[in-house]
Amino acid sequence: MKLKRGKMLIDPPASASSDIAFTLIIFFLVCAAVQPETGLSQILPKTEEQAEKRDQSKNIEVTITPTSIVLNGSPLQLPAFSQRISAALKQKTRETDRIVVVKSSPDTPYPLWIAVSQAIEQAGGILTLELETERVINVE
């Protein structure tokens, strides 16, 4: 049996290849441009070096280490921390009392830090960082 030969494929004209490439680039550029980024916005008070002057007695203090989150001296895990910080901030009515001072150990991983800061903001707290400053003292 003889098979019927189909029509041969026809190559597009070579002069159109740059136009095709141009259209393809436009397509990929548009695809790349419309990819939205997702994240967490965070409102931080402007950095001040006179941190010692503020009234620390009224502020909630949170210390983050790689293994635990310490809220006013009590070590907690993240779910318990979220509940306790919400309960603690519910009692605070003034904005200045809602400041939560966060101290992190230098080896605190970013995913834990961001989860804690999200829990504080969801509870209505105002996150403030307390950074350790390095001082070089020459001893002769």
């Binding site: 740059s18 997702t38 967490l40 991983p109």
Partner: protein
């Protein structure tokens, strides 16, 4: 005509790539309840080697605050978005000075994160 357009486009693509930070190697941390982020005025990144970049160019955290202050200029609050892209394995010693610098420059900080499954808000 097509050739000229093609070359012009390549030129502008290369020019734009010199200003962006898509060449930086980093992996975002995952978090529940992330939101769509608005367009940024500046982008700060900490890569897998824990180096800091401002709009794709390497910068030391000490110089970041002044560079951001210049970049943000007199833009009103609420429109001073600064994206912060931190590699998920970075530690507080890497990212806290950067956050402090963004805060000092008066930037509206937006942590760029990957949503955990079924957790993106519109």
């Amino acid at each position: 005509m097509g050739d000229i357009g093609f070359l012009l486009l390549i030129f502008f693509v290369i020019l734009a790539r010199a200003q962006d930070d898509s060449h930086i190697q980093w992996q975002p941390a995952k978090l529940k309840d992330v939101e769509m982020a608005a367009a940024p005025l500046a982008s700060v990144a900490i890569d897998t080697g824990f180096k800091t970049y401002l709009d794709g160019k390497e910068i030391s955290p000490d110089e970041l605050a002044s560079a951001l202050t210049t970049l943000l200029g007199d833009t009103p609050s609420g429109q001073r978005n600064v994206f912060l892209k931190v590699h998920k394995e970075a530690k507080a010693s890497h990212f806290e000075p950067v956050i402090a610098a963004i805060s000092e420059a008066g930037g509206d900080l937006v942590h760029i994160l990957e949503p955990e499954e079924n957790s993106t808000k519109p």
